[in-house]
């Protein structure tokens, strides 16, 4: 049970950072919606986990939070990415790309021979 949560925690963090860096400051609902959209509805999120992730990212100093008013004047907590967060995002993006690259090559080897 614990292992699944671990995996999702790491990937969710990256997704949130990416969303914030592209979209600018956003509230919790907006972030969750956006992730669902950009992943082409492939990711079925337990939206409650978003808030846990947001607190984690806040603690590590990668995002900052502030109360503000939304489009229709509703009071909402807006999150924005910090400079440290941008650096972290860049590092993680790099790592994901490398991983995808390697996995792609390894998994494309045909059984019984070379490529």
């Amino acid at each position: 049970m614990k292992k699944k949560v671990d995996l999702l925690q790491g990937t969710l963090d990256v997704m949130v950072l990416q969303t914030l860096s592209v979209m600018g400051p956003l509230h919790g609902y907006g972030i969750a919606r956006r992730i669902e959209q950009t992943s082409g509805d492939q990711v079925v999120l337990n939206q409650g986990t978003i808030y846990a992730a947001l607190v984690r990212l806040q603690q590590r100093g990668w995002i900052a939070a502030a109360w503000g008013a939304s489009e229709n004047n509703r009071k909402a907590k807006f999150y924005s990415i910090t400079r440290r967060g941008l650096k972290q995002l860049a590092a993680e993006t790099d790592q994901w790309r490398k991983l995808a690259d390697v996995m792609g090559r390894v998994l494309s080897v045909e059984p019984g021979g070379e490529q």
């Binding site: 049970m1 614990k2 509230h27 919790g28 609902y29 907006g30 969750a32 337990n46 939206q47 409650g48 986990t49 808030y51 846990a52 992730a53 607190v55 984690r56 603690q59 939304s70 509703r74 009071k75 909402a76 907590k77």
Partner: protein, 865 residues
């Protein structure tokens, strides 16, 4: 507070989220309820979200700590017996550790209570044994002080002060006080400033200058009730008026540093003049190094300077300075004792941890189900370990609190113990470092005995423990070796402590049985210095005659005599030479000298070997006589009888009229050296007179009898200070006895814990093996067979422990050889006693489970799980 804020924050955020979500669904055309339901489903459960949120928040550590503590309290209350035992045992261990720490802190770690104490140096003369060989003459001090480059200043005190030398008369009860004469710069050099009044002035430090005294704080509080007007008041000391010029601070304790076990009441100025120079070697020196000068450099310079000064004037005593840092001089000789105590207490703590670890391991077996359920509910291994460590830390902290109370009480007792002549003992107290140490020990202990059970419990897999039949001998086996190892360690440590205690007890017995040369029982001494009214020798002699006559005629008193120095107190030595022989200054024979009256030997129980005692016929007009001890007789006149020979000491000729047995007057462990006795009627050179009586009463009874006999003669006889001779001997042995008591206490405690450890392990093993025992009994084994097999198991366990312990004790014996007296490092009696004690205790500990096993009903045992 902040927790509620954050909860409210989160509530608000979730509310907003739901609103947005609902809006979208409403836009899609759902009904309000449907929209709400979908939104909630999508959010995935508010409570879980909140829980996840809370989990990731800051300070989860504190939350879980409170949770763990509450849970731990509940668990411990269920097992109150175990908890109580753990707290008690930890308390005793921590109490012992804290007390030892306080003593070590006071003696070794804390700097001396003076200004800049690391630059203070003790400067002794290195001419031999005895006070006269280790003190410095006034002229030598003055030369040294002016010529050396290493010290910014050198101060001195008169080392031959007599305890109770100063008789206070006048208003109030007459009282004997101890006065230490010091040089003018003594207090300024140490950085001691009077709380009232001032230091001595230069005038007061001149020969025959105005008489002044500085009072110690304790004396001022006791005798003058902290009267602020004491400065400038005159007192009558030994018939002379002196002025009080000041009161010293309470933090200054001369005895603690320079004369352990002595109370000093006041200080007077000691003139460094040609008059005091005539007294020979009299001074103890303390120097302050200049900044940047090291001890080695100072010692090198002092050696050269000493030779130069000695050679420059052949009439002076030689000067061979030996420098040690003052702290080292004060407590250096106790270092090995302190190290031994620290090791002993460390072993005790290890035994405590091993014992408690074993107990908790046994208990962990019953908690496995609980842990398994928690693991199934999502607790990680770290969480479980944290829970168990919290419990053990709670036990350890409670135990430490109890231990701290015990240590405070013990420290208070120690400080009042005048009877132990260990330096700086009065400075032992419970302060910041002591509390810090107790806390450290508590945490270390808690982790030490909690870690093993915690690791063990949390590593067991889910499946095995949730199954009903959790008896499994395999599981017992894996637990078993750890617990058995712990018990073996306990036994080995207990062995070491017992062996150490045994060796020291044997040493103490040997020391107490040494042939002292005199008989301390039934003897006591009291000061009867003739007051200043007896100004001439004749009058003093008749005073002595009268006093002795009165005391000897008191019923119940068998013998009485006078002396100027009791054994095991201060001593002094003079040069001597048999008539006709000459010696160079460097190998001039020296002997310890005592001025006594007739009857002294009988009163002290010193045996006469040859010749006769002094008699009333040895007067100033008759031939000067002297009595020597066996060592002197053998060394100066080897092979012949010393009686009748002539020798030179304070007079050009004294005739030897008697030879007595050697007396161990320096210390019980040290040989006598050469001793000589001069008759009180034929010399003036004494500063105090002790009356020694031997009788059938107790010392208190003797005191009363003597007082009533002497009061008519001297109405100002002070009430205090009847010392029993046995008391002198006891005080001299007190540091050794102190160590023995402590170590024996530790060893006893260790023995009990080892016994409990053995009992625990064997008992547990019997429980685990109930089925096996049942089978054996069903197959025909008798109760006796079962009992024997359990006992054999116990003995095997104990034997391993004792074998290890024996080797370790052998090593220990070698290491503490310096503390032993007349006892081999592997003394068979001590080691044998240790083995017997442990063997008996182990057998007893194993006997109870053995009996229980033999009483098992096979039917019940077979069905046991």
């Amino acid at each position: 507070m902040r927790r509620r804020e954050r909860d409210e924050d989160l509530e608000a955020e979730i509310a907003t989220h739901l609103e947005y979500s609902m809006e979208e669904y409403l836009r899609q055309g759902m009904s309000v309820e449907e929209a709400r339901r979908r939104a909630l489903v999508e959010l995935g459960g508010i409570e879980q979200a909140k829980e996840l949120h809370r989990d990731s928040r800051g300070l989860p550590f504190l939350d879980t700590l409170f949770q763990d503590t509450r849970h731990g309290l509940r668990t411990l209350r269920r097992d109150a017996g175990l908890a109580l035992f753990a707290v008690l045992v930890t308390g005793l261990g921590v109490g012992a550790s804290s007390t030892v720490f306080n003593v070590v802190n006071a003696l070794m770690l804390r700097p001396l209570p003076f200004d800049d104490p690391e630059r203070l140096v003790w400067i002794a003369n290195d001419l031999g044994e005895g006070m006269s060989a280790q003190t410095v003459q006034v002229s030598n001090l003055l030369e040294f002080r002016s010529q050396n480059q290493s010290f910014s200043d050198v101060a001195a005190y008169f080392a031959f002060y007599g305890v109770g030398d100063s008789k206070l008369t006048g208003t109030g009860e007459p009282e004997r006080l101890t006065n230490v004469p010091v040089s003018e710069n003594f207090f300024p050099l140490l950085g001691v400033k009077p709380v009232l009044g001032r230091q001595f002035s230069a005038d007061e430090c001149k020969w025959n200058g105005p008489r002044a005294v500085l009072l110690t704080h304790g004396f001022w509080v006791r005798r003058f009730a902290s009267d602020g007007g004491i400065v400038g008041r005159p007192l009558t000391l030994n018939g002379n008026p002196v002025t009080v010029v000041g009161v010293l601070p309470a933090s200054f304790d001369f005895g603690a540093v320079f004369a352990p076990g002595t109370h000093v009441d006041l200080f007077s100025p000691f003139p460094l003049t040609k008059e005091t120079n005539r007294w020979g070697n009299t001074l103890g020196l303390v120097g302050r190094l200049k900044p940047g000068v090291g001890l080695g450099a100072a010692q090198a310079e002092a050696a050269v300077l000493g030779k130069h000064i000695s050679d420059s004037d052949r009439n002076r005593n030689a000067l061979r300075p030996a420098l040690t840092m003052l702290h080292e001089h004060v407590s250096g000789s106790f270092r090995s004792t302190m190290v031994l105590l620290v090791c002993a207490v460390g072993m005790v703590m290890l035994i405590v941890c091993a014992n408690l670890s074993n107990l908790l391991l046994a208990r962990s077996a019953t908690r496995q189900k609980e842990m398994a359920i928690r693991a199934a509910l999502g607790a990680g291994r770290g969480r479980l370990i944290r829970q168990m460590l919290t419990e053990s830390l709670m036990l350890a902290t409670c135990g430490a609190a109890l231990g701290l109370l015990m240590a405070t009480a013990a420290t208070r007792v120690l400080v009042r113990f005048d009877a132990i002549s260990i330096p700086l003992l009065s400075q032992v107290r419970v302060d910041g470092p002591a509390l810090g140490f107790a806390l450290l020990i508590a945490v270390a202990t808690g982790i030490a005995f909690g870690l093993m059970p915690a690791l063990r419990v949390s590593s067991l897999s889910l499946h095995d423990t949730l199954k009903e039949s959790s008896r499994g001998s395999t599981e017992g086996q894996s637990h078993g070796w750890i617990r058995r190892t712990l018990v073996v360690c306990e036994i080995a440590f207990a062995c070491m402590l017992l062996a150490g205690a045994g060796l020291l007890i044997r040493s103490l017995t040997r020391v107490l049985h040494v042939n002292l040369g005199f008989e301390p029982q039934s003897a006591a001494a009291v000061r009867i210095d003739p007051n200043s009214g007896y100004s001439t020798q004749t009058r003093r002699n008749s005073y002595f005659d009268e006093a002795l006559r009165r005391v000897r005629s008191t019923p119940g008193i068998h013998g009485a005599g006078l002396t100027d120095a009791l054994p095991l107190g201060r001593n002094r030595s003079w040069g001597l030479a048999p008539k006709g022989r000459t010696f160079t200054r460097d190998n001039y024979p020296e002997a310890y000298v005592r001025i006594i009256s007739d009857g002294y030997f009988q009163a002290m129980g010193i045996a006469m070997v040859e010749g006769r005692d002094f008699a009333p016929t040895d007067t100033p007009e008759s031939e000067p006589v002297i009595i020597v001890n066996e060592t002197l007789a053998k060394r100066m006149w080897p092979g012949e009888s010393a009686v009748g020979k002539l020798m030179q000491t304070d007079r050009p000729e004294r005739r030897v009229v008697g030879v007595v047995r050697d007396v161990r007057h320096l210390a019980l462990e040290k040989d006598a050296g050469m001793e000589m006795y001069l008759p009180m009627r034929q010399t003036n050179d004494y500063s105090m007179v002790d009356l020694v009586v031997r009788g059938i009463h107790t010392p208190a009874g003797l005191a009363a009898a003597v007082r009533s006999a002497l009061i008519p003669l001297d109405p100002t006889l002070p009430a205090n200070e009847f010392r029993s001779i046995q008391g002198l001997v006891d005080k001299s042995v007190s540091p050794r006895r102190f160590l023995v008591v402590l170590l024996a206490g530790f060893a006893g405690f260790a023995l009990i814990l080892a016994a409990l450890g053995i009992y625990g392990v064997i008992s547990y093993s019997v429980n685990q093996r109930q089925q096996e025992i049942g089978i054996r009994m069903a197959l025909g084994a008798s109760a006796g067979d079962v009992q024997r097999s359990v006992l054999m198991q116990t003995i095997r366990l104990a034997a391993v422990g004792m074998a290890l312990g024996l080797v370790a004790s052998w090593v220990l014996g070698r290491l503490i050889r310096g503390l032993l007296y007349d006892v081999g490092a592997s003394d068979p009696v001590a080691f044998g006693a240790m083995l017997v004690a442990l063997g008996l205790v182990a057998s007893l500990a194993g006997y109870l489970p053995a009996r229980r096993a033999s009483k098992l009903d096979p039917v019940v045992a077979l069905r046991a799980e």
